[in-house]
C-alpha cells in the first residue's frame, strides 16, 4: 500500500517539475535560436574556397537526464510498442541546445558560419534497475572566421 503511495508521489513530482523545466527550456531555446539565426550551421563538407576564412573546431554538448514520469511512460510503452513520445522532446531539446552552445562558442570567436556540423549521441548510464538514465548529445563542426582579405 505504501509503496503505491510513494510511487504516485514520485510520479507526480516527476511530471510537475519535468514539464515545468521542459517548457522553460524550450522558451530559452527558441529565443536563442532567433538570436543566432544570422550564424548559419551547415552540414555540408565543402566550405566556400573564396573568400578565405580561418577555421577552428567547435563543439557544444549537453547531458540530459530522464525524470521519473518519463521513465515510467517509456516502460509502459515497452509493453505495447510504438513511439516513445516523452523521449522525443527530451532528445529534441538536447540536440538543439548542443547546437546552440556550439554556435555560442563560434560567435564568441567571431565566426560567420559553422560548417560540417555533425552530431553524436551517447547514453551515459542506461538507467538499469532503479538508477537514473542520462543521455549526452554532442554537436561539433568547423567555425569559419573571417572573411580575410587575400
Amino acid at each position: 500500500m505504501y509503496d503505491l503511495i510513494v510511487f504516485l508521489a514520485l510520479l507526480l513530482l516527476g511530471y510537475g517539475v519535468g514539464q515545468f523545466a521542459e517548457r522553460r527550456h524550450y522558451r530559452s531555446i527558441i529565443e536563442r535560436e532567433a538570436k543566432y539565426s544570422a550564424l548559419p550551421a551547415i552540414a555540408s563538407r565543402y566550405p566556400p574556397v573564396e573568400p578565405r576564412y580561418s577555421q577552428v573546431l567547435v563543439t557544444g554538448s549537453t547531458v540530459v537526464s530522464v525524470d521519473y514520469f518519463k521513465r515510467f511512460l517509456a516502460a509502459l510503452r515497452n509493453l505495447f510498442g510504438g513511439r516513445i513520445t516523452p523521449y522525443e522532446s527530451l532528445l529534441d531539446r538536447a540536440r538543439r541546445e548542443s547546437l546552440l552552445r556550439m554556435k555560442e562558442k563560434s560567435a564568441a570567436l567571431g565566426a560567420s558560419m559553422v560548417f560540417n556540423v555533425k552530431y553524436e549521441t551517447a547514453s551515459i548510464s542506461k538507467g538499469a534497475g532503479n538508477t537514473i538514465g542520462s543521455i549526452e548529445v554532442l554537436a561539433y563542426g568547423t567555425a569559419l572566421i573571417g572573411p580575410h582579405a587575400e
Partner: protein, 104 residues
C-alpha cells in the same frame, strides 16, 4: 524532394544553403517481440521483428526530415547522415540529418 547523401549533385548547382534539418524517431518494441527475441537468443537467426521496427523508425525519421526541409523552403536535402543510438533500455533512437538546399 531529392534526398541524397551525396555532397554535390552532378549537373545541378546549389543556389542557396538553408542550414541543418533533422528528423528523429524513438520507438520501442512491444513485449511480445521481446519474448520472441529472447527465444531467438537461444536458437539464433535474424530478428525479423526488430529489423522491421528499425526500418519503420527510419522511414518515420526520413519523413520528418522531409517535413522540416519543406518548411524552410528547400527542394533537396544533401549530405544526409544516419545515426542510431540506444537511449534507454529497450528503446533506440534513429535520427537523420542533412543540409537543406535549393537546387536550381
Amino acid at each position: 524532394m531529392l534526398i541524397s547523401n551525396l555532397e554535390l549533385i552532378p549537373g545541378r548547382r546549389v543556389v542557396e544553403h538553408l542550414g541543418l534539418v533533422q528528423g528523429s524517431s524513438v520507438r520501442a518494441k512491444h513485449v511480445g517481440r521481446d519474448i520472441m527475441a529472447s527465444l531467438k537468443n537461444v536458437f539464433g537467426g535474424e530478428l525479423k521483428a526488430y529489423t522491421e521496427l528499425l526500418q519503420e523508425s527510419r522511414e518515420e525519421a526520413m519523413g520528418r526530415l522531409q517535413q522540416q526541409a519543406e518548411a524552410v523552403g528547400a527542394n533537396a536535402v544533401l549530405n544526409v547522415r544516419f545515426s542510431t543510438s540506444s537511449v534507454a533500455q529497450g528503446a533506440a533512437e534513429i535520427y537523420v540529418y542533412g543540409t537543406a538546399v535549393i537546387l536550381e
